[in-house]
């Protein structure tokens, strides 16, 4: 997955979860400061990303959630893009 593909995926999932129009966010949108992400929002996004990609991003707290592009970079840089089965 390229970083751009990851950014598109993250943006789509954020829009789906928050009922936003894609035009309302960009890759530099700060999910916490601008969209008011809380720990439940973060959990929903991480689980949705896992369901879409099989990847489990390790995020310690909501404070570690920054922008769409930051999360996209974490996905693109995921070690070996190794997928971890949930079940």
């Amino acid at each position: 997955m390229t970083e751009q593909e990851a950014a598109d995926l993250v943006a789509n999932l954020v829009c789906r979860g928050r009922h936003l129009d894609p035009s309302q966010i960009s890759e530099t949108t700060d999910l916490v400061d601008e969209l008011g992400f809380d720990s439940l929002d973060a959990a929903e996004l991480l689980v949705a990303l896992h369901q879409e990609t099989g990847l489990q991003l390790d995020v310690g707290s909501v404070k570690d959630i920054k922008t769409v592009s930051d999360i996209a970079r974490s996905l693109a840089d995921y070690p070996g893009q190794q997928k971890v089965a949930d079940r």
Partner: protein, 201 residues
């Protein structure tokens, strides 16, 4: 219910019975939000159905506690939810649906234990007893269906048990911390109350 927990920064006296009812209400409101999100992520129709029913229960329970507070002339207040905050701190943000289910299981079990403890207290009014008993029927079902869902997943992948174990460890650590905090607070207050267990309505 997603378990409440003792308050850290009460805006009213946390020994007031109204505080506990507000904690219950806040936990149910929080639970409804959490279950709604899980419902959007459900990966089977049976889980989706169960989570929808669960979400309905949480919303109704929040309404029941709101009504109970109103009936005794109390006010709805914002209360901290240190149990959820600390559980998340120990476990980390859930990354899979299984993580979410495991955290929900321990929270629901904790909630059942707290409601049962409240029922066992002396001087609980009949109205609150009826509310507790009604809610507990739903809560016991929540524990049962989530446990069955997780055990089905364990049978498919034994690593799921690791998530359950991690959630249980996190829950035990949080509860130990909150119990110590509650004891400290009660010793300061000099009333022997601990972690809300001797508060009653």
């Amino acid at each position: 219910m997603i378990a409440p927990g003792s308050s850290e920064t009460p805006s009213i006296d946390s020994r007031d019975p109204l505080w506990m009812l507000n904690e219950y209400r806040a936990a149910e409101v929080h639970g409804a939000g959490a279950i709604m999100r899980m419902g959007r992520l459900a990966d089977s129709s049976s889980l989706s159905s169960d989570l929808s029913r669960h979400m309905r229960d949480e919303a109704i329970h929040a309404w029941l506690w709101t009504r109970a507070i109103n009936e005794i002339g109390g006010e709805i207040i914002e209360v901290d939810q240190p149990y959820q905050a600390r559980l998340s701190a120990y476990f980390g943000i859930p990354r899979t649906l299984t993580d979410m289910l495991a955290l929900t299981l321990v929270s629901e079990k904790r909630g059942v234990a707290q409601y049962n403890e409240h029922l066992d207290l002396p001087d609980v009014t009949p109205k609150i007893q009826r509310t507790l008993r009604g809610i507990l029927k739903d809560e016991n079902w929540h524990v049962r269906y989530i446990n069955e869902e997780l055990q089905n997943r364990v049978r498919a992948d034994r690593r799921v048990q690791d998530a359950i174990d991690r959630a249980e460890i996190a829950d035990e650590r949080v509860w130990a911390e909150l119990t110590v905090a509650g004891l400290d607070a009660s010793q300061g207050a000099g009333d022997g109350a601990q972690h809300g267990r001797s508060r009653r309505a």
